[in-house]
């Protein structure tokens, strides 16, 4: 149906964004394809190497899932901070990613966890690392009539921890000024791998590269300072209602530092 009607049709997930935009007459589609009528798209499945989250699972399902809480508490935390409980009860995980708003909370958390998304369309199925999924403001690699089917989150290696910090400058239920996720794997009390991702700053979330230097280091002040300089080089914040460019740069440093310190403190 999506293929037949082209730009006249749009898939409908939880509807918390699309229904608002259509009510506001910002968008109009003669055809909505209700994905909730497709069975099995809302499941959270444990596989041998990770957890597969169906695109139609709700935010609240992730927030309250014992499986997610046990394997990826940072992810449960990120999903639990979004909007309000009614929105989380309704909004779908896949719809959230496919909408690709730059202020979304899940992308940074999913990026540091190394998540990938499965897509299915008229050309068949493909798998895309989440880092390559976002192309711009509200733009993804999804082709016309292609759907996001599920999100695969690989289990974290031993001695790994992750954290997601959301910083609000307006009300608690508002979009964040920025979101920071960090992931740390240790071996023998030293850092083996560190990953950092930020959302809310520019049109797409940023997974920070060039952090290999932390290998076999301890996360002392000098290492963290170097990390913060690298982060600063790789972000290009734009101003919005929730902070100026200058402010967002300052807050990005502060919250990356906080996140990394939390990870090294909770040993």
């Amino acid at each position: 149906m999506l293929a037949r009607h082209g730009d006249d049709a749009r898939p409908l997930g939880g509807g918390t964004t699309l229904v608002i935009l259509m009510k506001q007459r910002a968008l109009y589609y003669p055809y909505l394809v209700d994905l909730q009528t497709i069975p099995g798209l809302a499941e959270i499945k444990i596989e041998s190497d990770g957890v597969r989250i169906g695109a139609l699972a709700t935010h609240r399902q992730i927030e309250c899932s014992p499986v997610i809480e046990a394997s990826f508490p940072a992810l449960a935390d990120a999903f639990g901070q979004i909007g309000n409980v009614r929105i989380r009860q309704t909004a779908s995980v896949g719809g959230n990613l496919a909408h690709a708003d730059y202020r979304l909370d899940p992308p940074p958390a999913l990026l540091v966890l190394g998540a990938e998304v499965s897509l299915f369309g008229t050309q068949g199925a493909r798998t895309v690392p989440l880092g390559l999924f976002f192309r711009g403001l509200y733009e993804t690699v999804l082709e016309p009539a292609e759907l996001l089917v599920d999100i695969k989150v690989p289990f974290m290696p031993e001695n790994s921890r992750a954290v997601y910090l959301r910083y609000n400058t307006l009300s608690a239920n508002d979009w964040p000024c920025l979101g920071v996720a960090a992931f740390l794997t240790e071996a023998n009390g030293r850092c083996r791998e560190l990953r950092v991702a930020l959302g809310g700053l520019a049109s797409t979330p940023v997974l920070v590269g060039g952090l290999d230097f932390v290998k076999d280091q301890t996360l002392d002040a000098a290492v963290i300072d170097r990390l913060l300089d690298i982060v600063d080089q790789q972000i290009a914040p734009f101003a919005d209602l929730r902070g100026s460019e200058w402010y967002k740069r300052r807050m990005a440093r502060l919250f990356v530092k906080k996140a990394v310190e939390q990870l090294s403190d909770t040993r």
Partner: protein
């Protein structure tokens, strides 16, 4: 497109012909005359149009009526005949309402919350209710009402 739907609402079954574009809020107000469900922000932020679907709070302003599966409860569905529900009673006793526009949404959200969490902290209550806005700023009274409702419900269950 016009379509026939069946709603399970407040322990009744209603069959209606509606438009695909109708929100559940519009159907509840205009067709079923359930006026406790109130529109305010229209974008899922304020909580005035909260209904319970299978016991979970959702914004009826964002739910297309054609998708409204499950058991729907509005404030009218809490009706205990001549007496108020424990949560309503607590809101009255603690004077947790002034203009009362937001109250039905609060009462339903508190109902869902206390069913999920029988022994909440103040932080739990604030966090769960953060998506319900009261512009008369009665939040401390509402917090007390939740505590009072919790005590009433727990004492009944013992």
């Amino acid at each position: 497109m016009r379509r026939n739907i069946t709603l399970n609402i407040n322990r009744r079954v209603e069959t209606l012909t509606i438009d695909d574009a109708d929100t559940l809020l519009e159907v509840l107000n205009e067709r079923l005359k359930l006026w406790s469900v109130r529109e305010s922000c229209g974008v899922g932020v304020c909580g005035s149009c909260t209904v319970l679907v299978d016991g979970q709070p959702v914004s009826s302003c964002l739910l297309l009526a054609v998708r409204a599966a499950g058991e729907i409860t509005t404030l009218e569905g809490l009706d205990m005949g001549s007496s108020l529900h424990a949560i309503q009673q607590a809101f009255v006793e603690e004077r947790a309402l002034q203009c009362a526009y937001c109250t039905p949404g609060f009462v339903l959200t508190v109902k869902a919350f206390l069913e999920q969490n029988q022994n909440p902290s103040d932080h739990d209550i604030r966090e769960y209710l953060a998506g319900n806005l009261c512009r008369c700023a009665g939040y401390p009274d509402i917090l007390r009402a939740v505590r009072s409702a919790q005590a009433k419900i727990n004492s009944r269950q013992q």
